[in-house]
Each structure stands twice: as structure tokens, then as C-alpha cells.
Amino acid sequence: MPGSIDTPTAEVFPEGQFSVSSSIFGGTIRTNLSFQVTNGVTVSFRYSRIPSASGDHRGYYWDRSFDIHYLFNEQTKFLPSIAIGLRDFIGTGLYTGEYLVATKDITKNIKLSGGLGWGRLSGKNNGTNIFGMGNERNSISVGAGGTIHANHFFSGKNSPFLSLSYYISPEFQLIAELSSDDYDMEVSTSKGFVRKSDFNFAFKYKVASDFSIIGKLMHGNAFGLSGILTLNPKNKPYKTGIETAPMPILEDHLLLQAQKSMDPNIFNRSAKLMKLDGIELLSVEEINKNTLQVEILDRNYIDVAQMLGRASRIIAKTAPVQFEVFKLKLIDYQSGLQITDVDIIRRDLKENELAFDGPEKLWESVNFYNSIAKKNPEKISLEKKLTWSFYPDIEIMLFDPHSPINGSIGWEARLSYRLKNSIAINSSIKQPILTTLDDIKRGPKVGLPNVRSDYMYYYRDIGIKPYISDLTLDQYFKPTKSLYGQLNIGYLEMMYAGIRSEIIWKDNKKPYGLGLDMAMVKKRNTRSDFSILDSRYVTIIGSMYYDLSSHWNFKLDAGKYLAGDYGATLAISRSFNNGWEIGAFATLTDVPFSTFGEGSFDKGITLKAPLSWFTGKKSRAYRQNIIKPISGDGGARLYLPDDKFLYERIKIYDQKSFKDNWKRFYR
């Protein structure tokens, strides 16, 4: 969160920026993940170790909390910037506090911030509530945590805080502040520190453009250190990318000459060139005297317009000049289904290659269609039936108060055998070699069938033995142009086996879609081998997807969850048109908060980082992390790999996806 040492400032980060900071002082450890959602709104997730005489784990609390900060007035020549914020506004409220703060650059090198704080920020030097809301802080009943308690915001006494920073150089900054936080809990134990002063002092040094360190003296007693790492998905380190140049387009008379020295078979000569660009050519077919149909399969390009551009350029090089229209059929590798047809006029492709506004002019003549629903020819399966891989596997589990970071390292063997074009057996076998997951102390919850909160028994019994993570027979089908389906039978995940089907309606000219996901499953035994227990569960969940042009994506799920509870999940994410995505989700069902237990309801943060952003080279691979504070039984669903969800696989070829990165068509 924007701030000086321990007090807030009325500043913001650049829009879209992630910041990860970690600090340690006086027995306190804090790790923050902040995200600048819009130009004015910053949100933050904090995980802290707080020393306290009443600490519930060896004299400490391990606490998760959320902050929100809103800059509603930007600095002008005479007026300061002004921001309002809520700290720890969801949950148990160990850090709960609110503030109003103003910041002004006094000179080029000196910055002054001052504000008023409530809650934890009014521990020292406090005075009468300026809003007339009384000097007693409204009490809250945190219950099981995880809920918002708006009634105590800005209530009780308020205290001033102040900070002053001086830039000795662009990299080096000195900071002093008057803090109103009384560190009530931290001073109550010898594991904390002694608060001798209201002042904090620090230096901040910018080690690199994206990394800073802070050395600090807190309240005249505790020395501390912080590290801050920033990353903005908008700033690609490799700019346009470092892939090699695409195939230039030739004029007809030169093309005729060039084609004389090529392989006489159009498919062969096209397939060879496409392979160099990471695209698989499945077929080339003459539809009529001036239209050539080309089926292609791509697993590499996150920017599908760039892939389309490269495939079109190659066909323009290899196809005889009489073909005026290229009909490119795009096929999904996993399902083997045809998703989208794209018609490209050869003349326009050529004329706009080096034209100013070339991609925009070409867009006017390109047409997208939903591919027809027909039985797919057995093209993919013929090429390579068996795919296998064997790689290290790392699993991390956070937020167990007994051991905040747990994990395992081992291996994962994946095997996929394609029986037919759209039918495959997929499996994953894992074996932890070093693990602490078998020592998770947190037990299952009470009040609901243990559909997820007993996961620790699985890790305990698996230990360092090999287990079947998943083993399924997957069949994909496409009954109509816009309807896609899949059926998965077998060991769906570590804890469940059974049958699951998903139907998706998605028109590739619309930015929305609908889905229905049904599963009938049984619990697997806790060794995750072949045996299955008797307990049976059913999930029926309908989904609505909407992708806004502003790169905000919404997904609303509603239906029956694993424990038999009924409810809905709302997931909102901000995508960056380069593969980065950050989102949050929350599930509310008819399970009372008290029955759900700690955390009150299921919620979390998702973060997706694309490989291509880091390498500058084409790749669809990514790393996704889900920060989920508490796993309960309410709102629980099957944990399935990403490739078991059709919508994301289909929408990558919808018109909006192409339009979003169309400026890369000629890259």
C-alpha cells in the first residue's frame, strides 16, 4: 500500500502495478501483495505474524487481512492529493483502522504527508471524533472472520499522523514519521518490542528500477528491514517480443518465380514453413477455384492474431496465385474440435502488409465464423497418439498457523493417449519426495460433510508414496456451431472420482457465454490409489461468462456445490491483453457463516503470469497461483486442471481475442 514507513500517504502506484513487500521488525513479520486496480484504487492482501500475549500460536497471531485505498483528489499546484483508506476491513480486524490522508510535494525533493487515523491508527495522541461519531470505537463481533463490519468504520477517537521524506538522490530517500499506532498487542509480550517513542525513521534505497529496500528504526526501539518488489504487467521487458521476423509477402510475378523452386505439393511446402513458426498444418483443401481451405492447430501463440498473420503469410507464399481467399480453420489441440473459421482476402493481406493502419484496414475485410459442427477427421491422433512428460513438481500450501508455509517437492509424470481425434486418456501420477504437507495440523471442520476440509488426511496418508493425481477418459463433442461439450470419466482429482460433463454455449462473435457443469462423484481413499469410498456427491453448476472490452472479465456460477449446499460464486478478473490476469472470487451458499467456520465463506485471489511476457517469445504457458486463505466445505467444488474447462479454450479464438491483439497481425 502507498505509505511512508508505517503510516499511509495520499499516493498511488502506476495503474496495473503489483507490489510485493516483506518486512520484519520487533517480532512482527508482514508480507503484502498490493495491486493498483484503477488509477485511484489500490487493494492489498497482508499476511502477518503479530506477537501478542494472547497470541494463539506460540505467542503469535498469524493473520490475513485486506486493505483498500482510494485517491480521490490528485495533487495540484496549491492543493495536496487526498486519499481515504480502510485497513483490515474484512476479517478478525487485528489491524483494523481507517484514515484520511493528504500528501504534497513541498519541493522537488521534499514530500509532506499528514492525516487522521481511526481504529488501530488512533492508539496514541488521540482526540475527539471529528465526525461526531462518539469517542468509543463501535465494537464488532468478528465471529468466524471473513466478513465486513462497516458499522465501526471511522468510529471512536482519531489521531493525527505525519510523515516527511527527503530525496537525497533519485535512488536514496530519508523518511521520518509521527505514528499514531500504539502497537498494543506487540508491546504486551517479550516477543514484541518496547514502544519508546512516537517517531519512526528510515532510509529507502532503490536498488533497481523494480526493487527497493528500507532500513528502519521503529518507535525508538526496534530495527527493521523491508524489501519491496514491483512489477507492472503493462511494461513488457521484451517490448514487441524477440521472435524472428515473419515471412514477407511477395508480388505475384516474383511469387510465381519463387514457387517454381518449391516442393510441388502445397501441403508439404506449407507445413514445413508453418512448423518453423510453431504452427501445425493439418490439411490444405481447394474449396473452389479461388478459395483455399487450411486447417491449422496452434499451441504456442498467446496473441492469436499474430499466429493468424504468420499462417496467412505462409499460405500467401505457398498457394498458387489463383487462390484469392484463404479460409483458415482453427482447431483446439486438447479437444480436437474446430472452433473458428477466418476468411482472409489475399489481395488485402498483401496490400496492407506495410501500409500505415495496415492491420486496421485488413480487419475491415476479415470475417470470422463459428466452425460447423461435423465429425472431425482423425488428423491430430494420426500425428502423435502418445504424449508423455516427466518433470519436477512443486506444491506450496500457505496460511496454516502452525506452519505458515508448507509444501512438497517431487515428480510428476503425465501421460496422454489420444484414442481418436476428440477422445483421449489423460493421466497424472505424482510422488512427493520431500514434503511437509503430511504434517498439516489443521483438522477437518464440523457441521457439513467433509468434502474438502479433510484434505490433510490425503497428504498424511500419501506421504512420499506415488499417487494418481488424475486419470480420466475425456471425450469432447460439438453438437452445434456454438455448443461444445466434454465428458470426463475416472479419477478426476486427488480426492474424487466419478463422471463429470460440461456444456458450453459460446458464439465467437459475442463476448459472453453460458455453461453447465455437472458431476457425480465418490470420494477416493486417502492414499489416492485406485480404491473408491462409498460417499457420493453431486454438483450441478450453471455459469455465465462475460468479457468486457475494458479487459474486466466476469463469471457467475450458481447451483449445487459438493457438500449439497446451494449458492453462487462471483469471480471478477482484470486481464492485461498480454496474458497477465489478476482476479478475486467469493462463494456464498446457504451454509451459515458459523457453520462454514473460520473465514465464514470461500474466497480467494487469483494471479496468472504468462511465460511469453518474461521471455519475449511465443508461448501459451503460464503460472497460476490461487491465494485462498481458508478451505472449507461450504461452496466447495472439484479441483480440476485448467485444461478441463472449455470456455477459456474456446474464447481464445473468438472475435474479441483477435481484435484485442490485431495490431500484432503483421508482427
Partner: protein, 230 residues
């Protein structure tokens, strides 16, 4: 001991797959992690070693296709690019390591394969820049930002020429007209140079700005000297 042995097997077995896409992705992830640990994103193309090549007519005579040479201003070695694209007056040249540059009338209009490519450009008086008495003109460069949108730089340029300038290309001494183009767009400034055969549009040598990240390239239009022109 068993655990240690398994760990050794796993980590020596990184890359065990029969699928090229998986192998490529896993290798890239490993490289990204090691780059993050070493705090470096510098995995640009391997720099070619400095060569002792003498760029003369004998060297040029070995090429059977039209070529141009390209180098960075501070480097002596050049990359030879062959013409692979031709549309109207626009020529695209491609290097062996996958960089392409496109010119219209000797003026750089696009690049591909650089980390910050000149995606497209628009030049006032593009086809008469060297023949008319141009003093000022405007041009626009477009690049891609991190979210596939355009970064557009609108340059205002002044143009000067020096007649009877002596230029060297290969081992040939030539009289050329040297045009100097000084351009400004906000904080971005560059000065391009074109050595043009007198009273023609033929640019035989130039120094042209590509982008903020890539700076200038030196372009040697050798193809004008192929086919025994001299």
C-alpha cells in the same frame, strides 16, 4: 539415500518429454526462474563475435542475391540481409538470424524481430524527399506497448542537404548528396543521415533510428553495386 537418488534423477531428467511444446515451455520456465534469481532479463540473441571481414567488392561478389548490410553504429561487423519481400516500391530484407527491415525509397518504414519493432510508419513526402527541396516534413512512428496497443510518435523533422559529399561504401569512394534529417517528438529526438547518389532517389548508405530501445542502425545498400554496376 533413496530420496537423494530420486532428487538427482528428477533434476537431471528436466526435459523428459516427447512433446516439443512442453519441452520448450519447461525450458523457458527454468530459464526465467534462473534469470529472476540472477536479477537479469538479458537473454537477448547471442552476440556474434567480432569478425575480421573486409567489406570490399571481392566480398560482395560472393553473393548471388541482392543484399544490404546492417550494423549498429558502434560495431564494425555487419549482418548481410537478402531481399525476401517486394511490394510496389517497398522492399523487405531478412537476415539469417531472423530480423527483417523494410524500406520505401531507402527510408526505413518497418522492422520485425527487434525487441522494440517499428511496427509501421508514415512519412510526408516519402517518395520525393531527396529530389524536392524539402526543408520540413512530418512523420509518424508506431510501436506496440505492453498490451498490444499503439505507442505513436509524431515527429516534426527538419531536412538539410550537403552536395558533393564524399562517401565510402565497400572500397568505393563516391560523391553523394548527404541529407540530414533532425526529428523531434516530445522528449524523443533523433538525427538520421542519408547518402544519396546525386539527382536520384538512390540511397546508398544511411543511419536511421529504429526505436528508443534499439537506437540507430547503419544501412549499406550493397545491391546498388551488384551486377557490375561499377
Amino acid at each position: 539415500m533413496r530420496i537423494l537418488l530420486l532428487l538427482v534423477i528428477i533434476f537431471t531428467c528436466v526435459g523428459c518429454t516427447n512433446d516439443d511444446v512442453i519441452r520448450g515451455n519447461k525450458a523457458s520456465f527454468t530459464k526465467v526462474y534462473s534469470n529472476i534469481l540472477s536479477r537479469s532479463f538479458d537473454i537477448q540473441r547471442e552476440k556474434s563475435a567480432a569478425s575480421d571481414t573486409i567489406y570490399d567488392r571481392e566480398w560482395l561478389s560472393k553473393f548471388t542475391q541482392p543484399i544490404i548490410g546492417i550494423s549498429a553504429p558502434k560495431r564494425s561487423e555487419q549482418a548481410a540481409l537478402v531481399a525476401l519481400g517486394n511490394q510496389d516500391e517497398k522492399l523487405t530484407w531478412v537476415s539469417a538470424d531472423g530480423i527483417s527491415v523494410s524500406f520505401a525509397n531507402g527510408i526505413l518504414i518497418a522492422t520485425r524481430g527487434y525487441s522494440q519493432d517499428l511496427m509501421e510508419s508514415r512519412h510526408g513526402d516519402q517518395f520525393s524527399l531527396f529530389t524536392r527541396n524539402t526543408k520540413k516534413h512530418f512523420k509518424t512512428h508506431r510501436y506496440l506497448d505492453g498490451q498490444n496497443g499503439y505507442i505513436e510518435l509524431n515527429f516534426s523533422c527538419s531536412f538539410k542537404s550537403i552536395n558533393n559529399n564524399v562517401s565510402y561504401l565497400l572500397d568505393i569512394k563516391l560523391k553523394t548528396t548527404k541529407f540530414t534529417e533532425s526529428c523531434t517528438a516530445g522528449t524523443f529526438r533523433h538525427i538520421n543521415e542519408y547518402h544519396v547518389l546525386p539527382k536520384t532517389n538512390i540511397v546508398i548508405k544511411s543511419k536511421q533510428w529504429v526505436s528508443e530501445s534499439n537506437g540507430y542502425i547503419l544501412v549499406y545498400n550493397y545491391y546498388a553495386f551488384q551486377n557490375n554496376l561499377f
